[in-house]
Symmetry: C2
DNA sequence: GCACATATTAAACAACTGTTTGAAATATGT
DNA sequence: ACATATTTCAAACAGTTGTTTAATATGTGC
C-alpha cells in the first residue's frame, strides 16, 4: 500500500486519505459515539478537508458503517478461527478448560492487545445501543456466528450438553467476558488506582474459565443443571 | 402530587412541568442518547417551551444528571433493599439458590416490569459509555454498594468464600445479568421473532441461578475454585 | 385588588452540523 | 505537453443546537 502501482488508476494517495479517515473516524466514534462525533472533528484528526468524507464515502453514515463493519468482521473471524483451529486437535483431546480459555482470550483479544485496548469492543457496544448498520447485521455477522462456533465446540467437547443448555451456557460465558470490558471502561474514567490492569484481567479470565468449567460439568449428571 | 397544597410557595404547576421534562428527557436519553437528544425534542415531548429546560434545570446537562441520578439511586436502593430484607431471615436459613434468585430478580426488576422494560438499565449502560455524572458516581453510588451487598450476602450464606473469590463471583453474576438486558435490547431491534420474551427471560434467570450456584459450591472444597 | 414572585413564552443569538458546489490542484495516460 | 480523470479545497448553504433575553402570563400572599 506504500508502493503505488503504475497500473492502478484510482491512485494510492486516495487510499491513504481513505485509511486516515477510517482510522480517525473509528477513534472518535469509540470515544464520542456517532452523534457526538462531527465530520469536522474526523477530518481534522485525519488531516483532510471537511468535504473529503463526502467525496470518499458519500455520507458520514456510510463512513461510520465502513468503520464499524471492518472491525466487526475482524472480531468475528478472529474468534471463530481461534475456536476452529483448536478444534482441529479433535474434541476428545481438548480439555474443557482449554477450550474456554482459548475462547475467552480470543473474545477479549483487542482488550489484551496494548495497541487497541477496549476500544473496538466498546465500538460494538455503541452499535448495539445506537444501531446504524442494517437490521440484524450485528446478530447475523458477529454474534450468531461466534455463539454458534463456541456452542458447537462445547457440545463436541461435552457431548452431554443439549442445544438448549449449550446456548444458555454460551450466553453466560459471553456475559461474563463482556462484563470485563465494561469494568475496564468504567475504571478507565475512574480515580481508583488499579494496581495492574493486565494482571486483573488475567485473574478474571482465569476465574471465568474455572467457574464456568465446574458449572458445565454439572450438566453431565444433571441435564437440568445446577443440582449437586 | 395531584393535590396542590396551599402552603407550598414553589407552585404545583412548576413541579408538574419539571416532572414532565424529567420523564420526557429520560425517555429520549434512553432511546437517542445524550448527544442524539435535543432540548427541542425533550420540550416537545413534555409539551413545554424550549426555554423551560433552562428555567427549571439550568442546562441540558443538569437535566440529564437529574434524570439519570434519580433512576440510579432507585435501582441501587431496590437491589440493596431486596438483599437486606432477605438476609433478615438469617443466613443459615437461606438457600444459596434463593439468594441468587432474589438478587437476579432485583437486578432485573425494571426489565421484568412491563412498564419500564430495559429502558432504565439501558440508560445506565449509556452513562457508562458516555459519562456525564461526576467522576466515579456510577461506581460509588450504584455499582459498589450493590456489589458489596451481594458479596456480603454471599459470604454470609457461603462462609467458605474469601473476599477475592466472592468479588470475582459477583462480577460473574452481574455480567450474566447485564447480558440478558443487552440481548433484549439487541433483539428488540431485530426481525427475529421471539416466541415469548418474558418466558425467555425467566429461563435465563433460572439457568443463571443454577449455573452460578453449582460453581459457587465448588469453592467449598476448593478455594481455588473450578476443580472437581 | 395590588405588589411581588414565579412560570411560560417567542424571538434572537452564536455556534455548530452534514452536505453541496465549483474552482484549483494533482495524478494519469498518451 | 496536452487531455482527461481524480482528488483536494474553501466557501456556501440550509438546518440544527443550547442558551439567553425580555415580555407576558400566572400564581401567591396580604
Amino acid at each position: 500500500m506504500q508502493k503505488q502501482t503504475k497500473n492502478d488508476p484510482s491512485g494510492g494517495n486516495s487510499d491513504l486519505a481513505r485509511q486516515r479517515l477510517l482510522d480517525a473516524a473509528e477513534k472518535l466514534f469509540v470515544s464520542e459515539g456517532y452523534d457526538g462525533t462531527s465530520v469536522r472533528a474526523i477530518t481534522e484528526l485525519a488531516n483532510c478537508n471537511v468535504a473529503a468524507v463526502n467525496y470518499h464515502f458519500g455520507t458520514k453514515d456510510a463512513l461510520y458503517k465502513q468503520a464499524v463493519t471492518r472491525r466487526l468482521h475482524m472480531l468475528r473471524d478472529y474468534r471463530v478461527n481461534s475456536i476452529d483451529q483448536l478444534m482441529e486437535a479433535g474434541p476428545e483431546n481438548i480439555p474443557l478448560e482449554k477450550l474456554l480459555e482459548v475462547f475467552a482470550r480470543a473474545f477479549l483479544e483487542p482488550l489484551l492487545n496494548d495497541e487497541t485496548g477496549p476500544a473496538i469492543i466498546q465500538l460494538m457496544h455503541r452499535e448495539i445501543l445506537d444501531p446504524h448498520l442494517p437490521t440484524d447485521t450485528f446478530l447475523d455477522e458477529i454474534f450468531l456466528p461466534v455463539a454458534n462456533a463456541i456452542k458447537s465446540a462445547l457440545q463436541a467437547v461435552c457431548p452431554y450438553l443439549d442445544d438448549k443448555n449449550a446456548l444458555l451456557i454460551v450466553h453466560s460465558i459471553v456475559g461474563q467476558l463482556v462484563h470485563i470490558v465494561q469494568m475496564v471502561v468504567l475504571l478507565s474514567g475512574s480515580s481508583f488506582v488499579t494496581d495492574n490492569p493486565k494482571e486483573s484481567i488475567e485473574e478474571h479470565v482465569k476465574h471465568i474459565v474455572h467457574f464456568t468449567a465446574v458449572a458445565i460439568r454439572s450438566y453431565q449428571n444433571h441435564p437440568e443443571g445446577g443440582q449437586l
